[in-house]
Amino acid sequence: MRHLFALLALSGMAMAADIYPRAYWENSVTVWFWVAVAIYLIVAIPSIYFMIKYRYKPGENEEGAHIEGNTAIEIVWTVIPTIIVLFLGTYSFANFVKQRKAPEGALELKVTAFMWGWEIEYPNGKKVYTFFNQVSDPEKNMYLMPDKIDDGVKAYIPAGKPVKVYCTSRDVIHSFFVHEARVTEDCVPGRITRLWFQFNKPGEYWVFCREYCGTWHSRMATVLKVVPEAEFNKWLGGQQAQQPAQTEQAPQQVQQ
Amino acid sequence: MAHEGTHAAHHETSVWALPVGLSTFFLSLAAIAHFTWHLPFLAVLSGGVGLALLAIGIAGWANEYFSKGHDEGLGFQGIVWFVFAEVVIFGTIFAGFWMARVTHADVWVREWIPQGGMNLALVALLTLILWTSSFTIWKAEHSIEEGDLGGYRMWLLATMVLGTAFLVLHAWEWLHLWHKGFTISSNMYGTGFYMLTGVHASHVLVGVLMQLVLLINSGKALNKKTPARAASYYWHFVDLAWLLVAGTAYIVGSYGKF
């Protein structure tokens, strides 16, 4: 039951206005959810009503009525869904544009996926590697929670700043799924794909590989450690002088 | 089929579908044994069994078809539908070829075309051979429709000779290019070239084998005319496909900058 309420809550409001592009994603989900519930009820209520009302009662309704169709009503239930479908497609299109277009001034990361781990390269050349066995406890053969994972394998991310990821792969197809931001893009050998996200609140967030890639697909994860910008710059180290302009910036507001 | 003419309850049977069906399993097993398990003995054994089942099955099937029952006339329609499927198979290779041709237009023209380009005179000759064979099979079809068994056999044979000549010339051309260093793994042009022409050639081979089956059974062909029509139609398809294949593999492949 708790989960049902959570589902309603999820579809009732944007829970995570602090996370992008999740906020746009939630807009679309909300609209879809209520449309779907409405359509379900519009179909289910009459059918259950008919199921009960027109059940076979000996002597009363031995045979069904001889009705073969009704053109007018059939046109109605062709045209109305067409309109709904156009609306849903266009609403999703509008949000999609925002989900795909990173705001100006984003931090750019180059991600290279491999079997099974990630190489994340910062603009100053600093690289973070996460291998599948670094997110798990070898003895229990089980995932670690982020707080138990070595900070050295986490990718630091400045809070309140858009981050643009360019992804490719060294071997097979993987997918860079920024879990809390609800955005993913496959990393394909021979191609560079892109996505963007932004976390306004510091914290630790999972990244999972979401395209099947073999034995350790399910452990091909890493953690984004979102920290205030100053701390991020400290972590990024010596070369912060290369990007002085960004040090002073306040958290950027993304257009809703 | 079995029990033809009896008046007791009929359970229609035919022995021949089973061996042909299972031959696909044995041939697959042979391929797996060769490529994955590296068991040459199993590969040869299973391949042999598969081919034997296939040959016996098809021979028996054709014989049964020509000897029993009457011509339902549906075979032609069956082949028409089947050709739709074939078109899509060719389509997949074309898709790969054209995608690469468009996205890699630069390197393609600069590096991938073999020295001296393609031998277009030979292509013209190959085309001429195939088109002539389209004519000869059309003659064969007409002969049988007019009940001229001798003509039917002669034109069938002529078609088979032309088809075989096409294959031999084509193989010679492949060897020649391969020796020049233009192989199936060189780049997407090599890949696309050999796959398109190779898959097409395999269809020519199937067509010739169809004609062989018809020729062997030609003695009983007079009241079973549909197979001749069907084989002829299939052959026209193979000839028509050649236009696109040759146009793509030779001309689109080796000319122009896009």
């Binding site: 059918s47 199921m51 009705i67 869904p81 394909v188 034995t215 | 035919s14 579908a17 797996i32």
Partner: protein, 549 residues
């Protein structure tokens, strides 16, 4: 082959072993297909239970065997579950089993157009089944999942590529033969007087599905043939270094593998239509639009494949375009749903097991279809692609709508095929258990994908308490489902000795009921060639046909 004065003695199945093995009769071949499908369904279902076992708690439970990790075993099991459920159960229970048995009976034909080709199709399918069994041998586990994406499927980590390719090829050969056969049969072998507007909707569904198979399967064949040549003969189709493109594989795969979902669901729709009309004693509402909607779905189905590649790196405009085309499938599908509901209006509904499974199937399809919509909305798909939401979506349509449809059909035609009545009480019990179990299982699967963003194909996941709890609820549902399916199997077996059924227990004007004995005789009809009166229609219930049960 066609015998004008067919005797009516005997049953279709009362033949010697030799006659079974060499049979070219559509009913026996249909039954061979059906049994193969059912056996593989049970195997794949047990695989599904192993998946549940692994996911119920975080960490890796499956043992590492034969030098492979536990996750490798999981990946193999998941590959088997997906591929077998889709190709052996969802496609072939219809295209092999139901279609073969029923289509000639429904159109008044003595057999399909090419009986020997039909037998050939079955035996190559049988060969494919043997190849599937070979994967059980350690070292031959295929771990590339049913989609077999290149370039992973060429990687040695993925298992024997050649085996995967040949399984798919034999399946394709069999399917191509089968669809050529079905199309020719429906086009050319209808009995005199049965025009296109007098075909059962089930026959229309098989016609559309066969067309999809005919145009789609070769694309699948192409995708795996190129995989084969890339791996073993050195071609470059999927090799980006020398001009190839891994996405070509996905385009070719989905060009078939999207439309194929309609091969799976349209025949289920066909069964829903037959059962609803029969059990309501009322012609189907809007017959013409129902038939047109079937072909519209099949046609639009070929224009939507990129929706499986929304996050694969294809250009943004392509995603938006295919988002719209995909959403449009909802319109003809909606027409079907609304027409079914309208058929119930002023009906006389008999509640028996086939009818319950049909109602359940329709209402669950509605959930499955409506949860297909967010996947098609490209904005939402960015967040849920390759998550358990997708898995939940397709289990609603496959594990429920389709499977309920197949079960409904099995109960509905059970008397005609076996000559006996099934047990109604057991059937109804199994329905309610199945409905409850499946909803518990698949609702929470779907929920986890949307609310928790749980990725799919994960044997292991972080031990977040809420995730663990959601996984455990699903397992409970799966166990209830298992009991339900077992009850069905028991019912079908035990009822082989059940009470004898009359020739037309449901009082249906459709040919397979009204013109044959029960069980069907070896030569199909009481009188052949079949003749139907001018005003005959398969749904003409008002013409004085009466139900016996």
């Amino acid at each position: 082959m066609a015998v004008a004065h067919a005797p009516t003695t005997g049953t279709w199945y009362g033949a010697t072993l030799k006659e079974w093995i060499f049979t070219t009769d559509h009913k026996k071949i249909g039954m061979l297909y059906f049994i193969t499908s059912l056996v593989f369904f049970i195997v794949a279902g047990i695989f599904g239970l192993i998946i549940r076992f692994e996911q119920t708690v975080p960490g890796i439970q499956l043992p590492g065997l034969f030098g492979q990790e536990g996750t490798d075993l999981y990946n193999y099991i998941l590959t088997g579950h997906g591929a077998v459920m889709l190709l052996w159960w969802a496609v072939n229970v219809w295209m092999g089993g139901f279609a073969n048995f029923l289509v000639p009976l429904m159109i008044g034909a003595r057999d399909v157009a090419f009986p020997r080709l039909n037998a050939f199709s079955y035996w190559s399918f049988f060969g494919a089944s043997l190849l599937v069994l070979l994967t059980l041998i350690p070292g031959n586990w295929i771990k590339m999942l049913w989609t077999g994406y290149a370039p992973y499927s060429m990687n040695d980590n993925a298992g024997p590529t050649s085996l995967y390719v040949l399984i798919v090829l034999l399946y394709s050969i069999s399917s191509t033969g089968g669809s050529v056969n079905m199309i020719t049969t429906i086009v050319s072998m209808r009995a005199k007087g049965i025009g296109w507007t007098k075909l059962n909707l089930f026959v229309h569904a098989i016609m559309a599905a066969s067309l999809i198979q005919l145009f789609g399967v070769p694309s699948l064949m192409g995708s795996v043939i190129l995989l084969f040549t890339d791996k073993y003969l050195g071609t470059n189709f999927y090799n980006p270094m020398l001009g190839g493109d891994p996405l070509l594989y996905q385009h070719l795969l989905w060009f078939y593998s999207h439309p194929v979902v309609y091969v799976m669901i349209l025949p289920a729709f066909g069964v829903f239509s037959e059962v609803i009309s029969t059990m309501s004693r009322k012609p189907i509402f809007g017959y013409i639009s129902m038939a047109l909607a079937i072909y519209a779905i099949a046609f639009v189905g070929f224009e939507t494949w990129v929706h499986h590649m929304f996050v694969s790196g294809v250009p943004d405009w392509l995603r938006v375009l295919f988002s719209y085309t995909t959403l449009f499938v909802g319109v003809p599908t909606g027409i079907k749903i609304f027409n079914w509901v309208a058929t119930l209006h002023r009906a006389s509904i008999r509640y028996n097991t086939p009818m319950l499974y049909t109602f359940g199937g329709i209402l669950m399809f509605l959930i499955g279809g409506l949860t297909g919509i967010p996947n098609a909305m490209v904005s939402i798909d960015l967040g849920i692609s390759d998550s358990l939401f997708i898995v939940g979506h397709f289990h609603y349509v496959l594990g429920m709508a389709l499977t309920f449809g197949a079960f409904s059909g099995i109960y509905y035609w059970y008397p005609k095929v076996t000559g006996r009545m099934y047990s109604e009480g057991l059937g109804k019990l199994s329905f309610w258990l199945m409905l409850i179990g499946a909803n518990i299982m698949f609702f929470f699967q779907m929920y986890m994908g949307m609310a928790n963003g749980m990725p799919r194909r994960y044997p292991d996941y972080p031990p977040i308490p809420e995730w663990v709890q959601l996984m455990q609820i699903q397992t409970v549902g799966a166990l209830i489902m298992t009991v339900a399916i077992l009850l069905n199997l028991i019912n079908w077996f035990k009822s082989l000795k059940g009470p004898k059924a009359p020739d037309n227990p449901w009082g249906s004007p459709s040919l397979e009921w009204s013109m044959t004995t029960t069980p069907v005789g070896p030569n199909n009809f009481k009188k052949f060639p079949v003749e139907v009166p001018e005003d005959w229609h398969p749904y003409a219930y008002y013409k004085g046909y009466h139900a016996h049960v």
